[in-house]
Symmetry: C3
Subunit: 263 residues, 3 copies
């Protein structure tokens, strides 16, 4: 359901236009998310406080709101930024980190979802948790994998009129009508902390350069998968996989991206 040429186009556009992406993300992911965006050609800006988050969304081309290390001032800033993005018709991505873990996460995710994210990027458990809380799914399963949750993700996307980008051993991206699967990567990738958060940031960058959020999201995950695969053969563990991934992203070929999509 994704044309390899679309992913190649998104990949090219990231480098050609260097979109400015406002990433309001957790502390753990700050370093890697920013470096990953830079390596992919985008321009990250971690502007989070309510005193400037909405104003900054006016100059950013996409916003990413990640709930990994929540606190009230950050929630305020996220709301200001996504409301400004929404009002300006700019795409924004929700990353509902560990949304099922606490009441505060559930409430914050619900408040953000009310503001209509363009894309929700999460793992299977997080997507299932949101699908359930919104009445679109069956219940929480901490060990869920993406294949198990595919129909919940499709229902959730339809119900919210959003794109759901669910990452795991197989990535599943859906807008409720179209569904794409991205296969590949490396089994050690989950040991790189905040790689999922960084994927959300890259999805935001892709949405900034390509209007169809379904295609943009699937393209972003294909780009990341291709870079992981280029990095993996020479990596001896999560430490080297991480820097090799950044190197690979910065020099990734269109062919490598197209090959992942065409599988």
């Amino acid at each position: 359901m994704l044309d390899p040429r679309t992913a190649v186009h998104v990949h090219d556009q990231l480098r050609a236009t260097g979109p400015l992406v406002q990433v309001i993300t957790n502390y753990v992911s700050m370093d890697i998310a920013a470096n990953l965006l830079n390596a992919a050609g985008a321009s990250p800006a971690m502007v989070h406080d309510a005193r400037e988050a909405g104003e900054f969304a006016g100059i950013a081309q996409a916003v990413v709101a990640n709930i990994g290390t929540l606190s009230p001032p950050w929630v305020e800033g996220m709301l200001a930024a996504v409301e400004a993005a929404g009002a300006a018709g700019k795409p924004w991505v929700l990353d509902p980190v560990a949304v099922g873990a606490t009441a505060y996460r559930r409430e914050t995710a619900a408040a953000l979802i009310e503001r209509r994210p363009t894309v929700i990027r999460g793992n299977a458990s997080e997507i299932l948790s949101i699908a359930t809380s919104t009445g679109a799914g069956r219940g929480v399963d901490a060990d869920a994998d993406t294949a198990d949750v595919r129909t919940d993700a499709e229902s959730l996307a339809s119900k919210l009129e959003t794109v759901v980008a669910m990452t795991g051993a197989v990535d599943i991206v859906t807008d409720g009508t179209r569904t794409a699967e991205i296969r590949g990567g490396d089994a050690r990738a989950p040991m790189i902390t905040a790689l999922g958060c960084s994927a959300s940031a890259l999805v935001g960058a892709a949405c900034a350069v390509h209007d169809d959020a379904f295609e943009a999201s699937a393209s972003a995950l294909a780009i990341l998968t291709a870079a992981i695969e280029q990095a993996a053969p020479h990596a001896e563990g999560p430490g080297s996989l991480r820097w090799r991934l950044l190197d690979a992203l910065s020099t990734l070929s269109s062919d490598a991206v197209a090959e992942v999509v065409a599988r």
Copy 2:
């Protein structure tokens, strides 16, 4: 005073059970502490705000409270988390970063110590500073090394009925009755920022999988030492030592851990 088989057991258990560790730590250490726990098999969660820190401690298997970049909301969150951990009988680790430097650090450390940490992990100066302020030691010496402070650490452990895990050129772990020394590592390791903070996080993970906190703490430091030694021969400085350490941790053998303990 530590059986090599115990350290091997702790090492195996980290991988087998992947304990969830709530790490409330300073901003500088976020990235490395999370990645180091992941590489060792544990599952880090940096949940710090008082609105969810206590609730999250209910699902975590250990808590780590690190005072490196203090502010009032973080102190509130730390207190909520360690009180919840204490009430549930779960282990928690205090890392009193630079405790002697300011009044705010001394007060915060004192408030945390009142909540009875399972382990205090610090360098010689930090341990000496706490021992002194609690009447268990002699006075502050910024250039203290662990051997000089061994008796202070033992007195402090006895007085507080806690484990003191003091890292340096030689690591000394004591519960006041038993004392273990871990020797080895690499002279360039202190150039890796927040490696001590990451050691505290790993001590928390070890306490989550092994009930005897003295044994768990010494095992964690032995595991880290073994990984540093595996990484060091190929490292050309602190940059490569860091990623090689993560690679080494992710593939560390039981023999390497046992060898460090048996010295």
Copy 3:
């Protein structure tokens, strides 16, 4: 305008004395700024909250205030620290990240500039933005390069009686009377997130060990340039350039530093 022997002297002094530098910086730069200072021989301390920032400035040898991820409590802490530094006659460095982007940044930078920074370290756009807002420059140009902004930087330095250290393809350092250019580096360096922030931290460390802030600033940028050049030939992208830069800094020769200055 910089004697190579001065840069070598600053480089030696960093290692010989290990100055304690209080770095109040953005979340993205925490990891790399701290590791870069450590690799260069300095001792970083990220102490930001107003409850201890002023007190800590009393023991630090230099302070760095970076506005990358602003919020009111951090601004309070920055003001406390730079006022304490100023009162004690200690050097402090302002890094006005993206100062032109929002009103909050402009106001905060203005409040900090009123406290008379020893050095302002920024890119050409940031320096131009400050020069303009203080009446010393012509207007904002997001794509400015340092050569275009040289005279604005010189006017700004004269007007504020400060040193302006402007980084880019060519670094320009000026106190209004003297101007030095540092040439070299690597075209991929800007892909390393927060390298500019880390340069500001290193300028702070250099000012801590050498009284002439113009010479100290230019020396710091020469040291960083030399390390980048040592790292670059073996780097395959921004991921490897980053860790190789840290390795290179930790073993950098005086000759390499002198060579960069002598160009």
